[in-house]
Amino acid sequence: MSLQITDLKIYYQTLRGEVQALESTTFSMADGEIMGLAGESGCGKTTLGHSLIYMKPPMKYMGGQVLLDGEELPIWDMDRMNEFRFKKISIIPQYAMNAMNPTRKIGKMISELLGSRGVDFKAILPELERRLGLVKLSTSVLDMYPIELSGGMKQRMVMVLSTLLNPSLLIADEITSALDVASQKAVAEMLVEFRNQGYCKSAIVITHDISILYQIADSILIMYAGQLAEKASTETIIHAPRHPYTKLLISSLPEIGIKSTEKRLTGIPGNPPLLLNPPVGCRFRERCPVAFEKCTEAPPFIEVEPGHHIACWKEGETNA
């Protein structure tokens, strides 16, 4: 097991009260797994991803345990986490376009950053240059300022930098959403290549675009309103989902080959609940076509088949 999360609970402290962004979350990831983390905006996917590496106020740790390669991550302690960041766990942030200091040459910035972490830049330079080649960047970018690079180039540069110390876990936050389709494909494929080369042992890919995950992820974890809904292999989530939310979500996605005149897709009526004061029990209850009395209790996230977890009373029952 690469990553094991038990009962992780994260709230946001706001002036109106606590936003229950992530309810008791338990799941694990295998070594070498690329796990897609998907859901609508505000479902808690970014909260989950960020809490593992960089939990800054107003994010608030409410309990739970995170084990990476068997070692506990002190995610609630900003200072103690520093030892793990970059070396054991790393992130490609959503804002990769602005992630580099605009007034430093990229190479200089990297060397200063590595120096501050006790890594010898000179020693790692050949490897850095090799990896730049892998993402189709010339080594001359090290002598450039970030503004001289295009969006896609910056994205790839950050990708190389974030994984330079071969972290065990990489969190990739919406890395394709700002890119055009061509760059999107290239970046997504490079991520897989990085995993294959062992630049990161496993990765969590946070995105709202499920079709990208279908292309690159080994497994997909679907979240809804701060709760886990379903986790299974990519094929299963796409072709044989069992949670009602996943089913409705997947069936609402238009794909090439479907025309409105031939086959009308339907969305999910209603809106996700506000997390400031969410309903008790299953948070999908109000929009769920198969909800019943029991759903006022929160369903546990249980394994219904090997590698297939669901949090739904209906599905859990039929199998139990």
Partner: protein, 317 residues
């Protein structure tokens, strides 16, 4: 219903406008009533500029836009107002479309003040209610609220309802669902399909090929301000010809098949002249012998309602 005739937008950049940037370069196409035409392009392709030119929010540098046969490129005053009675738009960001300090209904009141100043309150209320109902919402649930109290999907429907208050024949839908969540976006898209059945002509601007395929009869593929390929959606999607369209089709993530590996070309090999084919530097089949680097290919109709701008595929080339 609406036709573009060599519409061009040139921006002057540099000191005292020394350089020019062609955001849209001689784009021509027609949109018929009861049809959705998708305008597909990546960021910077000029697709939104075309939408804004149709809506008179950006001036046209050269060329003409005709609405029902009449040149509407340079309207002003009452004529422009009359045009807006027929042609309306909905934009990408639902939250930016509303003035955050006023209630969402203000978009309706603005329309009333400008277009129906004499209408009685009761009659107006009926008109608004029926417009809201026709976009699938309950007026009681959505009226009299602030934008932040409504969801993105509701806000976008609200804007479509606003357009329906007028006697519209043409709607520019500029990326209207790209910021909505997956579970709600399809319903807004279906709404456009319903409007089409009512005889509206719609220009659906998008970067998402699957959405374009779902909703539209015709598609226009735009690259750096130039039309690369256009025609019936079916033909383009089942039989893409332009190298750029082919690349798009191969790169789009699908749910029914995996990507074919083989890296996409990211770096340009060779820079062409500004007069050449805009796709020259990234094109895998570019050929200087054909003049790709020096002359911009024009659109050729390869089969009925299927046009391509590429020297490789000229009929007798």
């Amino acid at each position: 219903m609406l036709s573009l005739d060599r519409v061009t937008k040139v921006y002057r950049v540099g000191t005292f406008g020394g350089k020019e940037l062609r955001a849209v370069n001689e784009v021509s196409f027609d949109i018929k009533e009861g049809e959705v035409t998708s305008l597909i392009g990546e960021s910077g392709s000029g697709k939104s500029t075309i939408g804004k030119m149709i809506l008179h929010l950006i001036s046209i540098s050269s060329g003409a836009i005709k609405f029902k046969g009449k040149d509407v490129s340079h309207l002003s005053g009452d004529a422009l107002k009359e045009y807006y009675r027929n042609v309306q738009g909905v934009f990408q960001d639902p939250f930016s479309s509303y003035n955050p300090i006023f209630k969402a209904d203000r978009v309706f009141t603005n329309v009333r003040e400008e277009f129906f100043p004499d209408m009685q309150d009761a009659a107006w209320r009926d008109k608004v209610n029926s417009a809201i109902e026709s976009v699938g919402m309950n007026p009681e649930h959505v009226l009299n609220k602030y934008p932040h109290q409504l969801s993105g999907g509701q806000l976008q429907r609200f804007l479509i309802a606003r357009a329906l208050l007028l006697d519209i024949h043409f709607l520019v839908a500029d990326e209207i669902i790209s910021m909505l969540d997956a579970s709600t976006r399809i319903d807004v898209l279906n709404l456009l399909a319903d409007l089409k059945l009512r005889g509206l002509a719609i220009l659906f601007i998008t970067h998402d090929l699957s959405l374009a395929h779902y909703i539209s009869e015709n598609a226009v593929i735009l690259y750096r301000g130039c039309v690369a390929e256009m025609g019936a959606t079916e033909k383009i999607f089942s039989h893409p010809i332009h190298p750029y369209t082919k690349m798009l089709m191969a790169s789009v993530p699908r749910l029914d098949e995996k990507w074919k590996t083989g890296t996409t070309e990211l770096t340009s090999k060779e820079i062409g002249t500004p007069e050449g084919c805009p796709y020259f530097d990234r094109c895998p089949v570019a050929d200087k012998a054909l003049g790709c680097d020096r002359f911009r290919p024009t659109l050729q109709e390869l089969e009925p309602n299927h046009f391509v701008a590429c020297y490789r595929y000229e009929k007798n080339g």
